[in-house]
Assembly symmetry: C2
Homo-oligomer: 491 residues x 2
């Protein structure tokens, strides 16, 4: 065996163990008995310890020093393993295990605090998580010219920086604020009313998942509090949730998670259990989930088809025609919850979190002041007050599990989705004919070929640039939103 | 930290990883998408490799050499870790990983062969499994005076030997054969007829599980082809199955698995994630599942209560009274399937497998002759012919996953259950008053205190001897069966 072959055999086992650890996370959210939380945190910590030990195995340096890349795939594998080793060797085993242990427990404590609307009950745990993640960020930033926050960001979006994202977001914000103001000043369509049975929602949700290309032979759908996609290769699972009065929450959560899962399922099978075998970054991942959910799923053409499906499933639900349904699905209204936000306001939710978490990490914002800061910023951006913590600072799981630097990738994904959608529509001008029949195949095939199949072969900016035919820019997303909502609200 | 503390900290992580690997097995049987089988086998192999590496870590010898036991618990921990290290160091890493990989795939191939009634389709895989397990057994037997089969047996039932089991089984067989002949010559009660909806079966099955003390805060119930219990400590899961025309299959599978799971859940929480934190042997485990299922669950008193429950759940199902119901539940009739066999015939199914697997391992029986040997022996013991492989040699999953030496522990468990039941009835003479109300608490509490709480603290024979008040013997089981079935069949 060559050094490269030995390296890849070792890496393959590490990737397999990474899949096991990921599935343990899936189990925790879907299947785990409540009383198993403490034991589970020890199991997670032990898995994290094993993975960390492997990622810092001294043989890796040796293999990396000797390995020769015979092609682009090998070169990309070596680049990504190099990156992983560099990252892992900076983090002490003790710290990695401690983070796994604490965040596993923290998630349960967060869930209880959220259910009890009790921010104070979560703060001591949050303090621990923040301290450990800061320590990890500082270890990653040491010896580089990166800030602690940029080091964190690099975990989710390689090569992105707070500076570059801020510039992008600064270009986004004024036009979004302006669009939001104009839309909310216009007459809103009537909200959906009535109740939609869970079984019917789940049946149509599954139909949507299959329609968008989710492959159940290598996946499954379960319920969870916070929908997510999990796993790579031949075992990619999604979750959804139902709300009797809001079936769109279920349907669009499902389409969103299918965007993530279809990406993983579409990656060249030759890359399975290698560093190329999963989505290249959170931003590119989110570009897939968002283009599935919004540019395709919330389009006039597709919602026309969905309107008929909903009538088939639920009978007359009080919406007169497909045009009213399209307006309803894209209804812009005040709301607290990021994951339920419309396309116009969604990114404002993200920018709030991006600014607050940078301030938490830098120390400019103390944790005891976080709730007040959240509520102040929310009132400033959205014009009304947060009524309870589960609608405010406790609404997202991310911080409880130490995901700092993750939120901005949501908006980056939207920006990328804008670029991809512009190119997709240029290549397939009559796409709406398909979408009007509920047929997403030409669209999803285009995305598979342009983006998904490559896995980790290219960098995030490379793959978006190739696929979109231009350097990433906020213009396509803004143009799309302004055109779409000008039409919807007769602006 | 003392050497003992360091050893136990390391062992705790190993135990946690063992729980993760076990849960991966649970997932494979309950949740895994079909297309994930190949990837899963790599994941299992990687976990097995990690566990094997830890169990052969050179530091273990050092710690074991220096560690001092301060009490009985520490002494038992050291004894069990010593045993584990000795076992693990005899098995090459390559072989352990290969067995995990091959048996993971073999299980799927077995399931397909079973569904297709195609023994030949399974033989090449079975050949591989057998060869690898023989190699493992030979490695374990090397340097001892054990046979390959005894080395295998020791994995499931420490200190048991084929010789000791054969002697026990030889004392069992003539009286079982005689009892079977007399029972089958007598008039059989009418079989159950009608259909029982799945939801109703699962509802009553869950009620039974809770009634026998299964704790859902640290467990869960799912469906699987072959019911099993999985996990230790704070996460102990069971599965069940339903058959529309045979609700007893569901109910008594559930009670059986609850016997296993309640044992795990009852172990002193101080032993969690240590070598003492799981059931001490398969035989003792089976003694719990069988006493729950049979001596308690199929008693006249308990079935009297269950009769009312079934009428509540399903209405009039064509059984006139509690006495007829008791006869029905304990109906002895010809059947192919071990897991569905009555108390009289069950052990004859096990003895068949015990004899065949010893012959396979020794080489006295070639794999190509196994089906014929099974069918011949079945006809000799049961008096009629196997009609198809799923009713014969392909009915059990065990061999496909390499479990040789496991089957005899079922009968050993029945023998142990006989001993425990005799002692239990002596201690609680009015137990039937409780069981007649569906109240198993005094019985299960007795078992918890006498057996379950101790986990791995004592050896299997020690714990049964202490609890039963005598050295293990087949007499109590035979006396119980002969008395019970003489009454049922007016012999």
């Amino acid at each position: 065996m060559t050094a490269y072959d030995e390296l890849m055999a070792f890496e393959r086992e590490t990737q397999a163990l990474g899949q096991v650890a990921g599935r343990l996370g899936w189990d925790q959210e879907t299947m785990m008995p409540r009383g198993a939380a403490d034991q589970r945190s020890e199991e997670m910590a032990a898995m994290e310890g094993v993975l960390h030990t492997r990622r810092t195995d001294p043989r890796l340096e040796d293999w990396l020093g000797k390995a020769v890349a015979s092609d682009d795939v090998a070169a990309a594998n070596l680049r990504l393993i190099r990156r992983s080793v560099d990252r892992a060797t900076k983090i002490p085993v003790r710290l990695a295990a401690e983070i796994a242990r604490v965040t596993s427990k923290a998630q349960g404590i967060w869930a209880e605090a959220r259910a009890g609307e009790d921010v104070a009950a979560f703060l001591p745990t949050f303090e621990k998580v923040l301290r450990l993640k800061r320590e990890e960020g500082a270890a990653l930033a040491a010896g580089t010219d990166k800030s602690v926050y940029d080091a964190m960001l690099d975990d989710y979006e390689p090569e992105a920086t707070a500076q570059s994202l801020s510039e992008m977001f600064d270009a986004l914000r004024p036009r979004l604020v302006d669009l939001r103001a104009r839309v909310l000043a216009a007459e809103a369509p009537k909200a959906l009313s009535g109740s939609f049975d869970e079984a019917g929602q789940l049946a149509l949700s599954t139909k949507l998942a299959l329609g968008f290309g989710y492959d159940l032979s290598t996946g499954r759908i379960d319920k969870a509090v916070h929908p997510f996609s999990s796993g790579s290769g031949a075992d990619v699972r999604i979750t959804t949730r139902t709300n009797p009065v809001d079936p769109f929450n279920c349907f669009y959560s499902t389409i969103h998670e299918v965007g993530h899962a279809a990406y993983e399922q579409a990656i060249d099978p030759a890359y399975r259990l290698t560093p190329l075998g999963s989505g290249v970054s959170m931003g590119v991942h989110e570009s897939q989930s968002r283009i599935y959910e919004n540019q395709l799923g919330r389009s006039a053409a597709f919602t026309g088809w969905l309107y008929g499906q909903m009538r088939d499933q639920f009978g007359d639900f009080g919406v007169a025609d497909a045009e009213s349904f399209y307006k309803l699905v894209n209804r812009v209204s005040d709301g607290f919850i990021r994951t339920e936000a419309d396309e116009v306001q969604y990114n404002l939710h993200v920018l709030l979190r991006f600014d607050l978490e940078r301030a938490l990490i830098s120390g400019d914002l103390a944790l005891r002041d976080l709730e007040a800061a959240w509520n102040d910023r929310f009132r400033a951006d959205f014009g009304f007050a947060v009524d309870k913590p589960s609608n405010g600072v406790l609404q997202d799981v991310h911080w409880s599990v130490g995901l700092f630097g993750y939120f901005p990738t949501y908006t980056l994904g939207n920006v990328y989705a804008g670029c991809l959608h512009q190119a997709l529509r240029k290549d397939i001008p009559d796409l709406d004919d398909d979408l009007g029949r509920g047929d997403t195949r030409r669209a999803t095939t285009w995305l598979k070929e342009a983006v998904q199949q490559h896995g980790g072969l290219y960098t995030p900016v490379e793959v978006i640039t190739k696929a979109g035919g231009m350097a990433p820019s906020v213009e396509p997303l803004l143009d799309y939103l302004e055109t779409k909502f000008a039409g919807l609200y007769a602006l």
